[in-house]
């Protein structure tokens, strides 16, 4: 094995996948486990989730999203398909660029939602910042819907990412 350019590209891809597993794993934890279970938890036990588990999960969630995006951009640059992918292969007419480009755009929209919609609203909903009961309820619903939007988007995003490497 040579520690050449290809190996470092692989290393960056591995870091991108590790970060992505943590990000999407936590996204699916929120959507498949926490959100559906919260209404069933007795009120006196809810703070265990809202004050302890959720803030910790959100910390790793948002920083995993940041790490995934950062390694992903570096990977695209190292593979010389960043600019072709940004325009989803419309210039090159290459299916691989279209697939990875659509995956990159979906992932970037999801990253934006995490940092600029879900996290700010979760801070309000979880009581990490001062807010009225109505504001908390509204923020919780907004965070939930954007979290669901990201869950929906994760399905085509992961198809695009994996297909770009293995199908096209």
């Amino acid at each position: 094995m040579d520690f050449d350019y290809n190996w470092f590209t692989f290393l960056v891809r591995w870091l991108h996948v590790l970060s992505g597993v943590m990000w999407i794993g936590l996204l699916w934890y929120f959507n498949f486990v926490q959100i559906p279970t919260m209404p069933k938890i007795p009120d006196e036990h809810k703070p265990g989730v809202t004050k302890h588990i959720a803030p910790q999960a959100l910390f790793w969630f948002r920083w995993a999203a940041m790490s995934t995006l950062g390694w992903g951009i570096l990977l695209a640059l190292m593979n010389n398909y960043f600019s072709d992918s940004i325009i989803i292969g419309l210039g090159s007419g290459v299916a691989k660029h279209a697939a990875i480009g659509l995956g990159m755009w979906l992932g970037t929209i999801m990253w934006f939602n995490v940092w600029f919609v879900i996290w700010p609203n979760q801070k309000i909903a979880l009581g990490l910042v001062e807010a009225s009961a109505d504001e908390k309820k509204k923020a919780g619903r907004t965070a939930m819907l954007f979290s669901r939007f990201n869950t929906m988007s994760s399905i085509p995003m992961l198809y695009a990412m994996v297909a770009a490497q293995n199908v096209y």
């Binding site: 959507n31 989803i88 292969g89 299916a95 819907l145 929906m152 399905i155 085509p156």
Partner: protein, 31 residues
Amino acid sequence: MKNPLESLPSTIVMGLILTVILVLVVEAIGK
């Protein structure tokens, strides 16, 4: 009308539909 994103099963179905659309777009661009 209820937002379909409030339901987890409909969220997944919409994700699968989007995947089919994505495949069609990729195939169209890659011709």
